[in-house]
């Protein structure tokens, strides 16, 4: 009997092959039939009989299960086409398979899709307008999301990105120290067991010479396993290996797909070609796939060079000096290890290294998932992008409201058709579904068109040019995340449109439309309410956009008027980053020679060096301890930005020294360390005393000795344009020689010629000294305004578009209401209403709508404009002028869009109207 039980259990499983409806109706009986059968067989022929019966049942199921499935579907079909069968006078109680919900849904939906598509085709203008509106609505969202994706979400590694981490440091003072010295990197790599490999990378600018000319490019100098650790796909040739990163190996580079196209015209024999970078010859061994753009967000990386081959582009002691923090470090986790474990391990190693070699630094190690952007880049990008996301979300709302209104108008026009459908037995649910499906089809078409829109706008934003010689490169191509977002946005649109449409269809079909005469009272009051609500929503959302755009425009204007504290006009700037393989002493001499030569050029007023040109977001910070300082409220040493400058710097940028003196050539390496602070810092440290002669201690990366203050400079802008009360310290170049400096020259010479003069002075001093990113200081300052300028132009375009949509939507609604109340208006005219009274009636309606829009929009804008705070300079987020102006514009738009319908209403001939509608 055991075999019988086994067969019975097996048969229960087998029965799962039948459709659920069939199982529900017959499952039990089916099973009992089998049980009778198998027991019978067991009695007669024992186990053999059971086996035979079971085999037969298997074959039987195999044949009948598909047939039963078809039966269920066919039943649903019949039920749909001949609903009378539902009312069978002899309903079989559980007598047959219930039509499965799935089959039901899908048969009906297919039918409805066909009807909806036909309806949409029959109204091509409305359909085209709706799709175009949605395309712009979804497309702008897609564009901004692609930017968010490129800037914030993209992982660093092309291959298995979840296992790749960035290793970053922090000093004891909490200052992020992202770079490690080569020696630290080497020791971390040798001692780590949680990471299967570590690689280091740094950004270097190159002068690239090929057969068809010379220009400046940016490249990554990497340790040997960098490309293979990340899993960078190579389109041609081979990747770089550890062997390329040895001193005796021939100098090899991998170039970007971009460079291959731009400079080598996609020649197929690119592998093995030569390229000269910073005056050294390299062999191209590979071309990287264009999906990889390096480890530095936005940087247009065109070449990857092994560190060993880059000695002439890095400074002389970068490999043997632990204070030269050159490399960003990334690692790949072992399959069985987590980032937390790696962090714990590297922390121990770093502490050991600090004990052994550099007790003063004692870095705190952090291991973070490797996204392309660093946390502070993400914060900056987020500051710029989140308000934009908010703005474009509003555009989508407006687009949806507009299309919904369009759909509603169409539903009203089709009232009779819908009523006929109801009369013929269509359920409300069916009707609602039909309308909802129209909304879904429109959204899908709009979503598809939006992808095209986004593809067009992508090219505008993927290559931003902050400086004439620097075009950033963002990878805005759609990936899974962007596609997912597009689907989500489209689905949300579909839900909104379908929902509103369906709701409305239900309401409309409940009004006795058939008894009416095609015209007359339309849609009922609820319909009017939905439309009025949608129009108010549109005005409100447009108002928000308008306010946002106006705030940004005002902000750009006030940013242009911000007192920089220096005069950028007439100054050119060039970065000398490549250290040319020289020692710091040699570098100092080279720089000083170049400055001396520049000073002799006629027309030059002042030539100077600085670690950063003023107003540079990468200006470093340091914590400060000061002699006799008044302790601050939070009892921590204050932070300040600092710049190392040469003596004529304050003349070159025209930044006045308000107390004490400027740096002179006497502030040499051998003399006592000196510093200049700005007014803010002086006031903060010594609110009631003279700062001159006091001593300051900075962090070691700024200055390892105490500095005596010799002067106070006027306040200026140092890191960002929007900063307030930034403390700043200047240190003399001669006492703090750096390898990478910016040359700043104030002259009366035309900037292009001046830049060439600087270049030739540098090459005269040293053939390896090259000035990168030549720019005027005005352009340099402009670059820091780039995000807000971009946001402003985008917001303006978007607000203009929204306003146009709102105008059209409002016009449509007012015209519709006029048509709806034509009889009433005609009656009024017949009873003696003056044209002015009629005009007031119509325009009053438009104004009421705009008032409702203001009631929605102003509070929402007050709440939402806070998002913009990070982008605003010198404008409050609740600027009354902006709010008043924008509200005025919204009212004006309402007025303008009611004028035409109002004049039509005024010209109504009451006799004609009353006759027609009688």
């Amino acid at each position: 009997m055991r075999s019988v039980r086994v067969a019975e259990t097996a048969f229960r499983w087998l029965m799962l092959a039948y459709p659920p409806a069939f199982r529900q109706a017959h499952g039990l009986a089916l099973f009992e039939l089998f049980r009778d059968d198998v027991r019978d067989a067991c009695r007669r022929r024992g186990r053999f009989g059971v086996a035979t019966a079971f085999t037969r049942a298997c074959i039987d199921t195999l044949v009948n299960a598909p047939a039963a499935r078809w039966l269920v579907i066919r039943r649903a079909l019949i039920a749909r086409l001949e609903p009378s069968r539902y009312r069978d006078p002899e309903p079989s109680r559980n007598g047959g398979p219930e039509p499965s919900h799935f089959a039901e849904l899908w048969l009906g939906v297919g039918h409805d899709v066909r009807i909806a598509a036909r309806n949409l085709r029959n109204a091509p203008t409305v359909t085209a307008i709706a799709i175009a509106t949605l395309a712009v609505g979804v497309g702008t969202n897609l564009t901004i999301f692609s930017m968010v994706n490129a800037a914030l979400l993209r992982p660093l590694a092309p291959h298995d990105p979840d296992r790749v981490v960035r290793v970053a440091g922090r000093t004891v003072t909490g200052r992020p120290a992202r770079r490690f010295s080569y020696l630290d990197f080497r020791d971390l790599r040798a001692r780590s067991t949680t990471l299967s490999d570590l690689a280091g990378v740094t950004l270097v600018a190159f002068v690239c010479e090929t057969d068809d000319g010379t220009d400046q490019i940016i490249g990554e100098v990497t340790t040997g396993s960098y490309l293979s650790l990340l899993g960078v796909p190579i389109a041609r040739g081979r990747t770089l290996t550890e062997i390329d990163d040895r001193a005796q190996s021939p100098p090899a580079v991998v170039i970007s797909d971009h460079l291959w196209r731009r400079r080598f015209a996609t020649r197929p024999d690119i592998v093995g070609q030569h390229v000269t970078l910073n005056r050294v010859g390299y062999t191209i061994v590979g071309v990287a796939d264009d999906s990889f753009a390096g480890s530095f967000l936005g940087a247009p990386i065109d070449v990857w060079m092994p560190a060993a081959a880059a000695e002439s582009s890095l400074d002389a002691h970068w490999r043997d000096d632990r204070t030269r923090q050159t490399l960003m470090v990334i690692g790949r986790l072992r399959p069985d290890r987590t980032a937390v474990q790696a962090q714990a391990e590297l922390q121990v190693i770093a502490e050991a290294l600090a004990r052994e070699f550099r007790p003063e630094l004692h870095p705190i190690v952090e291991v973070v998932p490797a996204t392309l952007a660093w946390s502070d880049q993400r914060r900056l990008a987020g500051m710029f992008l989140s308000p934009l996301l908010g703005l474009v979300a509003l555009v989508l709302v407006i687009a949806c409201a507009n299309v919904a209104n369009l759909l509603l108008a169409r539903i009203l026009g089709r009232r009779r058709e819908l009523a006929v459908r109801v009369a013929l037995g269509a359920t409300l649910w069916r009707l609602a579904r039909l309308i909802a499906i129209e909304g879904v089809i429109l959204s899908a078409a709009g979503g598809a068109a939006a992808v095209a829109v986004a593809a067009g706008t992508r090219t505008v934003f993927a290559n931003i040019t902050p400086l004439p010689t620097l075009t950033l490169r963002f990878d805005m191509r759609p990936d899974a995340r962007v596609i997912g977002f597009a689907l989500l946005a489209t689905a949300a649109t579909a839900l909104a449109l379908g929902g509103v449409g369906a709701l409305h269809a239900i309401r409309t079909s409940m009004t006795p439309a058939l008894s009416e005469n095609g015209a007359g009272r339309l849609g009922g009051r609820s319909a009017a309410r939905i439309r009025i609500a949608l129009a108010s929503l549109q005005i409100g959302a447009s108002l928000m956009l308008l306010i946002g755009a106006a705030l940004l425009v005002r902000s750009v204007r006030s940013a242009a008027a911000i007192d920089l504290g220096f005069d950028p006009r007439g100054v050119v700037a060039l970065d000398v980053d490549g250290a040319g393989g020289r020692s710091p002493t040699e570098r100092t001499a080279i720089f000083q020679n170049a400055l001396r030569q520049l000073a002799t050029v006629p027309g030059v007023e002042a030539a100077a060096l600085a670690t950063r040109a003023p107003l540079d977001t990468s200006t470093p910070l340091t914590r400060i301890n000061a002699e006799h300082a008044v302790s601050t409220a939070d009892d921590r040493s204050p932070a300040a930005s600092f710049t190392v400058v040469s003596p004529r710097y304050f003349d070159a940028v025209k930044m006045p020294i308000v107390a004490g003196r400027s740096f002179t050539d006497d502030d040499a390496a051998a003399r006592a360390a000196v510093a200049i602070v700005n007014e803010t810092l002086a006031r903060r440290l010594w609110p009631d005393g003279n700062p001159i002669g006091r001593r300051l201690w900075l962090e070691p990366h700024a200055s390892s000795e105490a500095c005596r203050i010799v002067g106070v400079s006027r306040n200026s802008r140092y890191v960002t344009l929007g900063e307030e009360g930034q403390g700043h310290v200047y240190l003399p170049f001669a006492q703090h020689p750096r390898t990478g400096m910016t040359v700043l020259v104030r002259s009366t010479i035309e900037p292009g010629r001046m830049m060439r003069e600087v270049q030739s002075a540098l090459s005269a001093a040293d053939p390896h000294a090259i000035g990168f990113f030549p720019r005027t200081l005005t352009q340099h300052v402009g670059a820091s305004l780039l995000p807000i300028r971009l946001a402003t132009s985008l917001a303006s375009v978007v607000a203009g578009f929204a306003l146009a949509l709102a105008t059209v939507g409002l016009y449509g609604l007012v015209s519709f209401v006029v048509a709806e109340r034509m009889r009433e208006i005609a009656l009024r005219i017949a009873l003696g209403a003056t044209p002015a009274q009629v005009w007031r009636l119509v325009v009053g309606f438009g104004l009421k709508l705009s008032a409702a829009g203001l009631a929605v929009g102003v509070p929402a804008a007050l709440a939402g404009s806070r998002l913009l705070a990070g982008l605003l300079y010198g404008v409050s987020t609740t600027d009354p002028v902006v709010f008043a102006l924008a509200s005025g514009v919204a009212v004006a738009v309402a007025l303008a869009s009611s004028l035409l319908p109002a004049s039509r209403a005024m010209r109504l001939d009451p006799i004609v109207v009353l006759k027609e509608t009688a």
Partner: protein, 101 residues
């Protein structure tokens, strides 16, 4: 199957046994049986019965089926059609006695 239900209501196993007894479907599988029955129900030829045999004969869980009036008409029509066919065969001397080819 219609024939099996023509004299009285039966449950599925009863139908199966009746078919087996008449010799033409000795080993009809449960799936085939129920699918065919579902088709007959769809076509309105048979229906599930409300009535039950006497309690002592009844198995609670079993469903009984009956012929609908329409089913009965179809069965009679089919029997007539077959009868006509058999008559025609006999007239052409294809068969002489009932039951022998």
């Amino acid at each position: 199957m219609l024939l099996a239900l023509s004299d009285r209501e039966r449950h599925a196993y009863g139908i199966k046994k009746d078919l087996a007894a008449r010799g033409d479907h000795r080993e009809i599988g449960p799936g085939t049986l129920y699918r065919s029955m579902a088709q007959l129900i769809d076509a309105g030829l048979i229906a599930e019965s409300d009535r039950r045999p006497a309690a002592d004969l009844d198995d609670e869980r079993r469903r009984y089926y009956r012929l609908t009036p329409f089913g009965r008409r179809v069965l009679i029509a089919e029997a007539r059609r077959l009868e006509g066919l058999v008559d025609a065969a006999r007239a052409r001397k294809l068969i002489t006695h009932p039951g022998r080819a």
